[in-house]
Symmetry: none
Subunit: 98 residues, 2 copies
């Protein structure tokens, strides 16, 4: 999923956390933050600390990829799958904006 805002990330994490059947307390403990933090972050807190965010993502096995727009930064996927995503992404971009 394409991330644009902190709220996007919060939603992703919440979904994933539930998918893994973790409650906020267990999740918080696992990444070493308070339950409060989880609540605020899932709500899209824009000032959450980067390090904690990355820990949270890692704990849920969520991959973070960054790459420049069109050229360069070819990405490979975790499992030797098709790179159809790359193709699709490129197509979408050309068809839309930026």
């Amino acid at each position: 999923m394409l991330i644009r805002t902190p709220a996007d990330l919060g939603a992703v994490i919440r979904d994933r956390r539930r998918q893994l059947k973790l409650d906020q307390a267990a999740f918080a403990k696992r990444i070493g933050v308070s339950r409060q933090w989880v609540i605020e972050f899932e709500r899209g807190h824009p000032r959450a600390e980067l390090g904690l965010v990355l820990r949270a993502l890692g704990a849920l096995n969520i991959r973070v990829d960054v790459g420049v727009d069109v050229e360069l930064t070819t990405r490979r996927r975790a499992h030797g799958a098709v790179d159809i995503n790359a193709i699709v992404d490129k197509a979408k971009r050309l068809g839309h904006d930026q």
Copy 2:
């Protein structure tokens, strides 16, 4: 590129900023932070605010993608784009597990 730590992100941004021939001051101004912030962030500051980080990435036209390992979670796009990704992802998922 796969992001694991704040330092990874700092490096990406620094590279990209230079690629675009922006100095720290101009870059900082563009995203509405102090030059100090840029310095610390490029150095890998782990407690940088998520919102500012995303703004910085956006200002440099760096995409941020997140996704679960093999299975994936998402649907829900920011702007009405094709959901081919979802389809592809689902297909991949069916082929693998869960």
